[in-house]
């Protein structure tokens, strides 16, 4: 009985301390000033959607595209992950997820959202360009242009 009571006291104290720590953390961050993720600019002129849309909806767009492509054989490229990678692969690492500064990882580690895309998908563009399905038109992606200097998106 005594051992239980002591255990209870311990548990309650631990819970209290943890709770206080949780409450305090955001406040401390606000004081210190949070480093927003520094994102390398993509190679294209602009994204396939406006920035607000793509920031909010890219998971849904990619998921929709993935089901369309895999299950139905629809090969449009506007929202294809492969095209994201082609445009956003880092200049240094050639990848979107090789280092902490690379496009996908930079933002996702900031947002603390785990990605499992890269368990299966290549993080780097194809070494040699492959002929795309359906040469006879369809939605196209803005032509990738080399922009060199990387900007910081705030």
């Amino acid at each position: 009985m005594a051992s239980f009571r002591i255990l209870g006291v311990w548990l309650r104290s631990a819970a209290l301390v943890t709770g206080m720590a949780c409450l305090a953390t955001p406040a401390m961050q606000a004081v210190a000033g949070v480093d927003l993720p520094k994102l390398e600019r993509g190679k294209g002129e602009q994204c396939v959607e406006d920035v607000d849309t793509i920031r909010r909806l890219h998971p849904a767009l990619l998921k929709h595209q993935r089901d369309d492509t895999l299950r139905r054989g629809i090969r449009t490229t506007r929202h294809s992950l492969k095209k994201c990678v082609e445009c956003h692969a880092s200049e240094q690492t050639g990848s979107v997820a090789a280092s902490k500064q690379d496009f996908c990882v930079a933002c996702h580690s900031y947002a603390a959202v785990k990605l499992d895309c890269w368990d299966c998908h290549a993080t780097k563009p194809a070494r040699k360009p492959v002929r795309q399905a359906g040469a006879l038109g369809g939605a196209s992606h803005p032509t990738p242009l080399w922009h060199g200097a990387s900007g910081v998106i705030k």
Binding site: M1, S3, F4, D116
Partner: protein, 405 residues
Amino acid sequence: MSQQLCINQGECRTSLFLILLALGGVVVLGTLYAFFTLEHHGHVLTGMSNQIVWGLPHVFAVFLIVAASGALNVASIGSVFGKEVYKRRAPLSGMLALTLLAGGLAVLVLDLGRPDRLIVAMTHYNFKSIFAWNMIFYNGFFAIVGLYLITLMDRKLKSWSKPAGFAAFIWRLILTTATGSIFGFIVARSGYDAALYAPMFIIFSFAYGLAIFMLVQASMYSWNRLSLDAGIERRMKNLLAVFVGASLYFTVVLHLTNLYFAKQWDFERWILLEGGLYPALFWVGQIILGGILPLILLLAPRSGNHRGTGLNILAALLVILGGLAQMYVTIIGVQAFPMPIFPGHEVSSTFYDGVVADYAPGVYEWLLGLGGPAITFVLTVIGVRVFKFLPQDDFHAMETHPQRH
């Protein structure tokens, strides 16, 4: 009576409880270690391969799942068939059914290639897959048996215990049918592809579940320094003998059928004679240790006042051992035998066609597999301490009217 409640409610012998909990907990920690290691490094660390795709963890998992539905049988005999002695054991039986199923399912889930996608398995159903149906049956089993337990343990809901018990009984029959059909529905492999798997697994479940129930019951009585009524003990050991005998019967029928089909001769010769470890496990493990020997122990005449409790417990242990051997032969043995892609031909390739697949379970498989029984053990220990699961037999009444049960 008051002493019993005290013991049962866990006010006494806290140290024993904590020791048991720690023992189980250590094994579960090992299981979690194996799980996280495999999730990070992949199944490359195990002995499983593209030939033996289900290994030792599945042996434990399927055994526990089958035993879970069998453990409920004691409650069913009480609630559905109205046997008073079994009715008093219904709460323990229901609780064991839940903890066994939890242990088995945990191993299955922890062995998945993508355990992080468990939510996918719960939200995407292919209703042609018996596996998908099993997920519904397993989850439903928790719900139905859980409700049944409440009706058993809440005095106000007592009147509901019969319909709830009946629902649980039907559900467990469906569940074990579906579990056996996981193998019965596989057309590709010589050892499966038989409707007999469904009823055979039900009979196996009766034996394994009752054996586990008897062991747990005996442990609880001994730790609480009580002794089980001789009449009840005799009934249960006779029932176990019937189930073990029926299991042997189904095994014989399965192999006799195969021996009659010429296309199955190669497989039968291998699994019964030439397959090395597998015939050994089959004959020594499943048939002799898990079948014939328990039958002898259970049915041997007891001399005078000797109850033969030791013999009964040994028989129950052997049935469990035989059950694990049976699952090993059923799951791994059948996979190890070359798939008959080109019957009547000698086949060779880089993908191990035409050769018996090697399998040696590694340490991670043992850790994963043993996690199942350990989780069941921990949950059971907690269960019997927190709730009143010790069968509340009216010892006095039994002594005066022994013929009543």
